[in-house]
Symmetry: C2
């Protein structure tokens, strides 16, 4: 009963209006697994170079993240991303990308990984994602992330990958672009018709929405007075979401809704500091406190209106 | 115990990708009062010209909207707005505006109007709004709408007006512009420090949020597959919100939260057809059905996470 993530493990160099870091642990699989580790046991399938040090491995170890399938290429270098945010922290400006060992990434799953109950296919090339998906035929739920790059350059392959997963997690703009449909509700209906039973749409400061064939669930974001570094927020959300589901015996609509909240809680912490710095030192009390805050900020009494005076026809 | 609205009554000519209307009943006071009429008794303070016909008056009459303070200038013409929406229905393009009799509008309140329990100051020049506010010193709650035009051209007067009302209703961009603060949560805190005890921020397809000193409440929008004509959605929201509050004996946080839902319900109907066409023929059953839909789409069980297996420190 465990959770598998396939994605990138990277060194990020990030500059925001509030400060900078030259080299910190990043990548989709890092953000995802550290977030998910608060709820369940996680295995990581990824690749790093010989420059990946024991300090970074210690972060995974501290969070009981299983790195058996973290391939190390001793004479290669770890994937590096150089990004900058202006005051509009919604837009990441990529200054440079050194794929390094990630360019030749071929996900290799141990038998234990192949038997994972839940699988998250982080944002990598769709052919690779589909290759991994084929190796986990018995997974109860396989979730997929992607990005505009793959919609632009490998739409056909991406479409095939979407057809064989259970759940797609994308942002607002990606959902519209993917479905070629400006109205998000119509876009969601179209995407669900391709195969996934669930679509989750991340909306940044506006929260997130979950679409299934018969249900719609939408939540606001946690209100933050300052966003420090949004890098990895999406993967941290996915980690909280999938991690929580992995902790539950039954994955039904009610569990998925709570998972949406835990995902949002984790993402809200992620953006408060650089990289994984805030999430790393979270406590379950802090997580649950913010979960309860979500309840308080969305609750209203279900009392329909009854006109007592003269009725308007 | 009634609700007063001061604003515009107009003829709108609207073109959207889905059709057009050359002349239909519009203006903030029209949208507001028809929406509010489903919940309470409404009085309108506005001005129209001799071209305002018995057909339009019949619409108000049918909804029991009191038009005693609707001034008619027989030799003048009613305010006309000519607008167009492209496929991005979030942006209204004003093609032309004929202020006509609205240019010389001086709101005149009868004694009955002056004794209204609740007052909505629709989007007009801030000096006029403040003049009306001074005439309703005993109102339990005075709400204010405004727009970017007044922020740009009459900021000082607008600020003074905001200082003397209880509640401000604006959209996302207006709140940020008003507070000169990109972060909405900080912007809200700043605006509340000027005097109003409540700020409501409308976010279009992303829903709405309500800020008070100690509470935060946020809801998604009703998911619509097609938006036909967004004209008047904001005033229709305000009408549902204030109308519902007016129907309640006690105006507390819980009532305000339900009012947010009823406002959103009314706005969601408004955009389904041209102008006031859809709202005019609503039934209370339809309103309550959509109210319940809001509960379904925002509900989750408050079950904090408890890690049963090995704990992560």
């Amino acid at each position: 009963m465990s959770l598998l993530v396939v994605g990138s493990v990277a060194f990020d160099a990030v500059e925001t209006p509030f400060g900078k870091r030259d080299q910190m642990l990043g990548g989709s699989a890092s953000h995802f697994s550290i977030s998910a580790s608060f709820f369940t046991d996680v295995r990581v399938v990824a690749v790093v170079g010989g420059d990946f040090s024991s300090d970074e491995l210690a972060v995974f170890a501290k969070h009981h993240v299983d790195t058996t399938d973290l391939e190390v290429v001793p004479d290669g270098e770890t994937f590096r991303w150089f990004g900058r945010y202006e005051y509009d922290l919604n837009v990441a400006h990529t200054l440079d990308t050194h794929l390094n060992v990630f360019a030749g990434f071929e996900p290799k799953l141990s038998d234990a990984s192949k038997n994972s109950r839940l699988v998250f296919l982080g944002n990598i090339q769709p052919d690779l994602q589909r290759g991994v998906r084929a190796q986990v035929p018995n997974a109860e739920l396989v979730a997929l992330d992607t990005m505009n790059l793959w919609i632009d350059t490998t739409r056909e392959s991406l479409q095939k990958t979407i057809e064989v997963v259970d759940l797609l997690i994308v942002n607002d703009a990606e959902a519209r672009q993917l479905a070629e449909e400006a109205n998000l509700i119509k876009a969601a209906r179209k995407i669900l018709s391709w195969g996934p039973h669930t679509l989750i749409v991340k909306r940044g400061e506006y929260g997130a929405a979950m679409f299934t064939k018969d249900e719609y669930f939408a939540i606001p974001a946690y209100p933050l007075e300052s966003v420090f570094d949004p890098t990895g927020a999406g993967d941290t959300f996915a980690g909280g979401f999938m991690g929580y589901l992995s902790s539950q015996e039954t994955i039904d609509e009610a569990a998925m809704r709570r998972a949406m909240i835990f995902g949002s809680v984790m993402a809200s912490f992620n953006v408060e500091e650089f990289g994984t710095e805030r999430v790393r030192r979270l406590t379950h009390d802090e997580i649950n406190e913010r979960f309860r805050a979500f309840k308080r900020m969305t609750y209203f009494e279900e009392i329909p209106f009854e006109r007592v005076a003269q009725a308007t026809k």
